[in-house]
Symmetry: none
Subunit: 243 residues, 4 copies
């Protein structure tokens, strides 16, 4: 969507531009984000932005798309990497079940947000972008995520990891909401400010254990719900004894 001019830019310049723009849109919603602020940060001319992009909206769309793609690829690579490692060990490479796959995805998604606060925060903002002209953006993001989750759910149904009478669309919705808003929970629970991290480029102050534990809690909720545990189910037997 950017103009050719943008891609003709020397790698380094394009990179600096992208970074500054990501910063701006991570720190402010679409309306509040300011083209002037971006250029003054970079020390370039305002007109340049309009050599690269048709308008503010196109710039925004590009950044969202870029962030989404980056995040997706990072997660995908990480999940695959993990799988192959395990696969190498236990020869039969038993396919992981639904919950394990979900947990991994969520785990790497969260890690991504901590290590790429700009991208993560921009995407989060975009998801809730209230500006009318931008509705399409959040819709697209939702649909992307939903598509992925839907495939997971369908696989889960096939393997019997999920109960057969599940309303797929509803399950996808629930998964989607809990997944993206996990950020808020983590943020509050660990008093971690993603916006602060955007500004400071701050590092990851959350231990892997703590993060995995939270995600395990999420997975458990999804697997069993909030209700009391059925006593004679095999599934539960291996869990820590409750009551």
């Amino acid at each position: 969507m950017p103009k050719p001019t943008f891609f003709n830019l020397p790698e380094d310049k394009r990179r600096r531009f992208t970074d500054a723009a990501l910063d701006e849109f991570a720190l402010h919603d679409y309306r509040s984000a300011s083209v002037s602020r971006i250029v003054s940060t970079l020390g370039i001319a305002k007109g340049s932005v309009y050599q690269y992009f048709e308008d503010k909206q196109e710039l925004y769309l590009y950044l969202v798309t870029l962030a989404a793609q980056t995040k997706f690829e990072c997660i995908d690579a990480a999940v695959r990497g993990e799988a192959s490692v395990r696969g190498n060990v236990s020869a039969p490479s038993s396919e992981p079940g639904f919950f394990e796959r979900y947990e991994r995805t969520v785990y790497h998604g969260a890690r991504f947000d901590f290590t790429h606060p700009r991208h993560g925060t921009l995407l989060y903002n975009a998801t809730y972008e209230p500006s009318g002209e931008m509705l399409a953006v959040s819709a697209r993001l939702r649909e992307q995520s939903a598509r992925y989750l839907r495939s997971l759910v369908e696989a889960g149904l096939a393997t019997g990891d999920l109960r057969a009478d599940l309303d797929v669309e509803f399950a996808v919705f629930a998964l989607y909401q809990l997944t993206i808003s996990l950020r808020d929970y983590l943020s509050e629970r660990f008093r971690f400010s993603f916006k602060g991290a955007v500004q400071a480029g701050a590092g990851p102050p959350i231990s892997d254990e703590a993060l995995r534990e939270v995600i395990a809690e999420l997975a458990r909720l999804l697997r069993q719900g909030l209700g009391p545990v059925a006593t004679t189910t095999e599934e539960q037997r291996t869990q820590p004894r409750v009551c």
Copy 2:
């Protein structure tokens, strides 16, 4: 918070003003909402708004508070009404369990959103309001809802409707997210545009059955999770009695 002038207004005029302002803030986020648009819609002088309210922010705060209060009272009245009706029938008035209480609350909350699209949508916007100056507002709304859900969860733990090892804060978080975003699911599933309803003052195109069914699905997810049902579990039978 409004100036006395506002409350001295004839009922009818105040009503018209409130409606138009709710419209504006339901259709746009805080920054994008325009005082000028409100007055031009109403055909009144710009100065009038500032006779009623100190500034745009005070107006917004008033509307959010009003909407929150209205929604809360509506839900509360409806839930109580339902309870008393049932109570009258079966004399012992068995207290409803966690899931039933939750379902009722969500049901009436959704009904409210359909019948009061202005209020519902304004509240929804406020929850995700990105404007920095307004962070306190969304935080307050979240905390209000969370407080209510927390009390439900704690009651549920006491009665054994919820499993004892539950992480309360996490459960509250999950309930909160699924509850408020149910709007999005309903909107998509029933192709119902809340913003459209704000503009058109549109009626209720969703059958009670359909709505109840969705909420039942939500409750089921929360009760059992997504996992397969334990076969010989006594869970269902013993539900009121735990351990």
Copy 3:
């Protein structure tokens, strides 16, 4: 100039109104003074002001006129009183000379400003009122004061207290400027805030001696100038020897 309505007002109410209005115009210049602030201070309706006065300007004119008249009468009474007292003592009641009359006037003028900070400050403001529509006001005030000073000067010439070759208009101008701006000197020298006194209704923290001394200094400047004293003049002989 006020409408008859204003004078029909019960004494007390008219008094309260006048006081509040004097406050407002003492504390702010014409443009910055706010009719709304006056009525909100008084707790009366905005419309009332326009029952009493045609508009803000008429109100202002009235207040300036009132303050000028009050100040003039106060000074006049005080000066006359002083004169008669002295007169009683030394039977021939020798007429005071120019400088003594001037000193007395300035002294009582300053005392008035300290005891009636509202009036004094309003008059001072009016003298320098920059608002174009109000030029006539400051011109009138200047002319009033100038007229009085002119009469003093002419008497002084007649008695020989002033040198015969004096340019009367220029002398009047110089007297006028030094007289009205004495306020600034006093304010700085004694760290006395007249506006503070308006707000606090504060008392007179300046000793009579200090004030008289300053005025004596002013009189001396006017009598002799800044230049070195002529040696063989009788007048000067009693002064401390210079050079």
Copy 4:
């Protein structure tokens, strides 16, 4: 203080802008001056002003500073020029006494006001600017002038041009007031409207002789006061030669 944009402007454009702005602030006090009026006079876009200056206040501060500096430099250059001319003639270049220095300064100050009515009037306004936010400005201007006069007075004391028992601060005050308000005297005496000159860019209707005469009168007042002249004093005779 202006933004770089302002100084990057082509000379001519910057000049036109400055002139129009000086006009506006010469004709109105700070609050009454209108940015809108300036741009409509110039036929430029409102936004341009904010490309040049942060806000109205910065614009005002710049103009006052500019006017003060211009006036000071003009006076300084003229006084020096005069001195050097005379100096060249009479080789010993006898230093001028206090009154001569003061007269020269006042003369060139007045000339400046006639030839640069915009600057002069703006400065005059600024000196009496009533707006609370701008108090610092008038204080600064007063202090600058006072500092200069103080140095003159101290030199005058050293040379014996001024009587030794003078209260320096009081003398400075009197000099300051008479000096700046000379404008008013000239304006009235010669029926010259400085504001009119601002608008009309009007020429110099005052003869040099007349002006010099007025200033001589001022100097005489300051030298001798208003009192009758001592008959046998040597003061007059020795005037050029001091002690």
